[in-house]
């Protein structure tokens, strides 16, 4: 696991009240496996944008399913 992936897991764990960090894997699906609802997603986007200094628009969000997808998006955006 690289630094971006670790940071993404930290941020997701910060948002999801009922999920322990140990249970968040790279292939965990954010909605189906971790139970995130819409407000959680908006909260995560705000934190990720702040942390990595990037912008995630709503169409891009729809393509993201797993924790690894989030980290890949951030790395692809070249800011990490």
């Amino acid at each position: 696991m690289d630094d971006v992936e670790r940071k993404v897991i930290d941020l997701i764990a910060e948002v999801l009240v009922d999920v322990n960090k140990e249970n968040i894997q790279l292939d965990s699906k954010i909605v189906e496996d971790l139970g995130a609802e819409s407000l959680d997603i908006y909260d995560m986007i705000a934190l990720l944008e702040d942390e990595f200094g990037l912008e995630i628009n709503d169409e891009e969000v729809e393509k993201i399913q797993t924790v690894k997808d989030v980290a890949s998006f951030i790395k692809a955006s070249g800011r990490a």
């Binding site: 910060e14 908006y42 909260d43």
Partner: protein, 401 residues
């Protein structure tokens, strides 16, 4: 309840009956450039973590933390199981003057620096006042009437009065009610200073809130929350609940006079108290204790004295009065709620809490304000007043059970 004096009814009651001040230097933000640098802050012994998951706490404003911690204390004390078996018979009405002002300030700062993307999605739910009772409904499964009351410094008393009416009308059996406030913020202190409303006795924080004293120079802002469980008598008796007291009267008026000044003849306050007593069917001579609004401002304390004199006549000399704001500071929308609890405790314990810092009484404030030391007194009824910017006045009458 939570105030600058501590968390929990017992801690607060011990503090106010021993005449302790909860006022100190402001630490919640850098107040070094503000004219007022003192307040009644809720300090280290308040920790929402026991009640609110730290991840969830992140998404709540401080006024909501205070409200929820007070609500848990009230629910635990009442011993009410939740979710209730008849959820539509249980509601919540909670007051706040300015709700999540701190979250609004933080949100604005972030948008100002980063542009519109700087707005966090929780700014709205953390700011609005109806989310305090809304969160209680989620936590306790109360599905009946639920709303916030916004009435500045009268919010807490108005909320309790309205919740009491809902029960009296038979619409609900149980209501969570009270008030919460956490506006020791840079904007709030600056703006109250611009109105010249706050004490600037920065060198002597514990002496700054001095209702009815000649040398008072304004109110001292405080933060906190008071939440009560109101129940219909039938419902409480049927489940064998411990009953701390009864709300028997509620009066509400407005001065129809000025945006921030009370009418100096005290007419609105007079009618508020009069209607509350009539609602209760209680004669002024039967009131043992008045928990005064007593803000420590020049205008309020004189006006309230005139109103009490007018309504109580000869018995004005006999009633014990005090302003617990001398110790807690002025909790704005939570003031009436914590003062309702103090009034109920006074009846239950037979003790009148003092008005501290009453060293040189204002000659125009010439009633028994219970100076500096608590007094033992058996009492059947107590009255609690709240008056607001906007001219709103509300009074509650409590009966010992």
């Amino acid at each position: 309840m939570v105030t600058g004096l501590g968390a929990g009814v017992q801690a607060n009651w011990t503090a106010i009956t021993s005449g302790r001040s909860g006022i100190g230097p402001i630490t919640r933000f850098d107040a070094s450039k503000h004219r007022t640098r003192i307040a009644g802050e809720v300090r280290g012994d308040f920790d929402p973590a026991g009640y609110i998951h730290n991840k969830e706490a992140r998404r709540m404003d401080r006024y909501q933390h205070l409200a929820m911690v007070a609500a848990y204390e009230a629910m635990n004390d009442a011993g009410l199981p939740y979710p209730p078996s008849e959820p539509y018979r249980c509601g919540a009405v909670v007051g706040s003057g300015m709700g999540g002002l701190a979250s609004i300030e933080d949100g604005f700062r972030s948008v100002d620096q980063k542009g519109p993307k700087g707005a966090h999605p929780m700014v709205i739910p953390m700011s609005v006042i109806n989310l305090a009772p809304g969160m209680m409904s989620i936590r306790f499964g109360f599905k009946g009437p639920n709303f916030g009351v916004v009435n500045a410094c009268t919010s807490g008393t108005s909320a309790i009065g309205e919740a009491h009416r809902i029960i009296r009308e038979g619409r609900c059996d149980v209501m969570l009610t009270g008030g919460a406030e956490a506006v020791i913020t840079t904007l709030s202190i600056a703006a109250f200073n611009a109105l010249r409303a706050l004490s600037v006795r920065n060198d002597e924080p514990e002496k700054a809130s001095r209702p009815f004293d000649r040398d008072r120079d304004g109110f001292v802002i405080g933060e906190g929350a008071g939440i009560l469980v109101l129940e219909s008598e039938d419902h409480a008796r049927a489940r064998g609940a411990t009953i701390h007291g009864e709300i028997v009267g509620y009066g509400a008026t407005d001065d129809a006079f000025h945006v921030v000044m009370p009418a100096s003849d005290g007419e609105g306050a007079y009618y508020s108290m009069k209607f509350a007593l009539e609602d209760a069917g209680v004669d002024p001579s039967e009131i043992g204790y008045i928990n005064a609004h007593g803000t420590s401002t020049d205008l309020n304390d004189k006006m309230e004295t005139i109103a009490i004199r007018r309504l109580f006549g000869h018995s004005a000399e006999k009633v014990s009065i005090s302003s617990t704001k001398s110790m807690t500071g002025h909790l704005i929308g939570a003031a009436g709620a914590v003062e309702a609890i103090f009034s109920l405790m006074a009846l239950k314990e037979g003790v009148v809490p003092p008005t501290i810092n009453l060293e040189n009484p204002d000659p125009e404030c010439d009633l028994d304000y219970t100076p500096n030391k608590a007094v033992s007194r058996e009492m059947a009824y107590a009255l609690s007043n709240s008056f607001a910017f906007g001219g709103q006045n509300a009074s509650l009458v409590f009966k010992r059970v």
